[in-house]
């Protein structure tokens, strides 16, 4: 059974719930890799808000998902991304890939995360003290993404 899904939502989600649903749907896969990104504690940041462009953001993520499906042998790929206001420790992103082969599952999840972190249409705003400011992708995120150029 195949299971490909993309969710962008301002509601909190439980990575373990998503993992259980994905594992049930991806029945028959030998390998599941799940990445969970969490809001890290930063004593200078009091608030984190992620904006997106409804519809466009989903379709750009769908492109990434389709690239991953073309590149690796996957029986499932689940992408969940939080938007809106988030607090420390909350899950921001969950990417799970299922495959018969361990390597395909690892590489696909890694690839999708690198694209999400550098090219997906999200705009992040952090409040430090009284000042909200927009955050751009780190040089590290851009380097990570460039690993996949062939």
């Amino acid at each position: 059974m195949e299971c490909f899904s993309i969710t962008v939502s301002d509601s909190p989600f439980e990575p373990e719930r998503a993992h259980a649903d994905f594992r049930a749907a991806a029945l028959g896969a030998g390998a599941i890799v799940a990445f969970t990104g969490l809001v890290r504690p930063d004593e200078n940041v009091s608030s984190l808000t992620l904006s997106h462009y409804e519809g466009f953001t989903q379709s750009q993520i769908k492109n990434i998902s389709e690239q991953a499906r073309a590149r690796w042998e996957l029986s499932g790929l689940c992408i969940i991304h939080r938007v809106g206001n988030m607090v420390v420790g909350e899950p921001i992103v969950f990417v799970a890939s299922a495959s018969a082969h361990r390597r395909d599952a690892f590489e696909a999840a890694d690839f999708v995360m690198d694209y999400l972190k550098s090219e997906a249409p999200f705009w992040k705003s952090e409040t430090r003290g009284d000042m909200a400011h927009w955050v751009e992708p780190s040089a590290r995120d851009i380097d990570d993404k460039n690993r996949w150029r062939s």
Partner: protein, 81 residues
Amino acid sequence: MATILFFGKLSDVSGALTVDLPQDVRSGAALKKWLGGRDAALQAALEQAGVSMAVNQQMALGDVAISNDDEIAFMSALSGG
């Protein structure tokens, strides 16, 4: 009427607009110039590095044709997720 959306840093400068495009504003580049002419702060923001454009939710370049039926988005440099 065309819908003009702004994302990221650009959304601090302008909210969404619903506008009747002048006859001579029929490309992405012409729209950018026209919007900048109405608002100096927006002009400066639109010229920042990393600003991209989408027309009807498709990535577009300056020569893209636009009309009053379109949704045009100007997006500041992406943050990533």
